[in-house]
Point group: C2
Chain length 275, copies 2
């Protein structure tokens, strides 16, 4: 998907919501296990069907599938196929946080972009350019590089100021890595819990899309994120996972997920008026 | 496995070799596809059988299995089971380079330590303490944290000097993270291609085991690594992947892999004399 297509989808749907498919076998409604032989996929399918007109992206979190072994991997593959077939305008993100030496990153790129048909994969920056570049060789596919994450541990290293110029590590990651690709094949993860830093991020990467986790369960504010982070093409994909997909643990879970997604989308519609 | 058990295995086998199972479907001998319905597992099995008395650890690289989808994940699980059943003294490392917010890292930990029976998993440090801690809650299991990697991209961020005290990022990672666990549940990745840095690493973490990739195909020297990196309990696991497992592309591949592993083990035996 191109940046323009993504922006067109945002305008058409009046939403920059990404729904995180952190599907946890211990948290999905009990009733699904009675109703279906395939409860984890069924959960994803119903969440997707209930929210697809309200969001522009889905983000399966790989850990939640890998921990189920073969069955989880199979559900992941079928979930991506289902979204691609039913809702071809969705941007599908593998939240995998991969990154390794060149030949290994090339294998991961093949996994997510050829074997499966994801649009983007999240990548960790610690190993530098050759760990990221192999993901950039696919037309219409994206790297979403970790810059400033939403967790407490972000303060351990990401804010370390450098001797030369005093830039913080996340700023160096943004500045350096933005030379490896461009705003048409790279995005950055910037946590909503550090919304006031979004202005600093925007000074370095004014045009790139930012994937923003951390609203909802992690406590970030959508208003703050939009205020500091938006650009002329919106430039934001704001993720919500638990608050939407676990809005109810009962038979009405899809309906309640839709209601929660709609609440967020309506807020986004207002925020898009000022972009 | 405890640190003492690992050291005992090193002394008994006179080896600190880790064989990297970077099993690439495009590089394994053609003949395996004729001989077996299960050529990738068969390759691993024969490599393991040919080298198990010469090494103390195996390190499957997850990317090479994930890129095959369900089949790859199945081969990975069976490979770990095979090593565990046949060679229970082997230390088995998931080279996965994971790391995410706490609840997600907990899922990855469950994958590698409960669902599969790995002894250790490689983890990326960028997201800080809460991305690493969930892996440390398993008795006898280990985190191997990336500190100084063997690739060219290591220079992009890992050597950035901090404003306070001028320590380089990899030094800060070592110093900070060594407070999260201890030498009995954490190791560090330090690339052989930067062997002269091993002395700097040892000043910060004198007791920890180091997993050292980069000898062989990547050009690092075993002599240099041992000279700068060894401690009183050896403290080194030196990995070789391609140079051993692809020593031959013909029917004699296992025999040639053994010969190459033996060459390395004999060199290690000499180096252990001075420890």
């Amino acid at each position: 998907m191109t940046r323009q297509q993504l922006f067109d989808n945002i305008l058409r749907k009046q939403s920059f919501l990404c729904v995180g498919l952190d599907t946890d076998v211990d948290k999905i409604p009990e009733c699904l296990f009675d109703e279906s032989d395939d409860p984890i996929f069924e959960f994803n399918k119903r969440i997707i069907d209930a929210t697809a007109d309200l969001c522009v992206a889905y983000k399966p979190n790989l850990a939640f599938y890998e921990c189920l072994g073969l069955e989880g991997w199979d559900v992941l593959e079928r979930t991506v196929e289902y979204i691609r077939a039913q809702y071809p305008d969705q941007f599908i993100i593998a939240d995998a946080k991969r990154g390794d030496i060149g030949n290994t990153s090339a294998m991961y790129a093949r996994t997510f972009f050829s074997h499966m048909d994801f649009d983007a994969v999240t990548v960790a920056p610690y190993m530098g350019e050759d760990s990221v570049k192999p993901f950039l060789g696919y037309e219409g596919k994206w790297v979403i590089l970790l810059a400033l994450t939403s967790n407490k541990g972000a303060f351990d290293f990401q804010f370390t100021e450098s001797k030369d110029g005093g830039e913080r590590l996340f700023e160096k990651v943004l500045g350096t890595s933005s030379q490896w690709g461009n705003a048409d094949n790279m995005m950055y993860v910037v946590g909503a819990t550090k919304a006031d830093m979004l202005a600093d991020v925007r000074r370095i990467v004014p045009d790139h899309f930012l994937l923003v986790p951390g609203i909802g369960a992690q406590g970030g504010s959508l208003q703050e994120v939009a205020h500091h982070g938006k650009n002329t093409q919106c430039g934001l994909l704001v993720n919500s996972s638990r608050q939407i997909i676990y809005a109810s643990a009962e038979a009405d879970f899809a309906e309640k997920a839709r209601a929660e997604a709609q609440r967020v989308q309506e807020e986004m519609k207002e925020l898009l008026k000022t972009m």
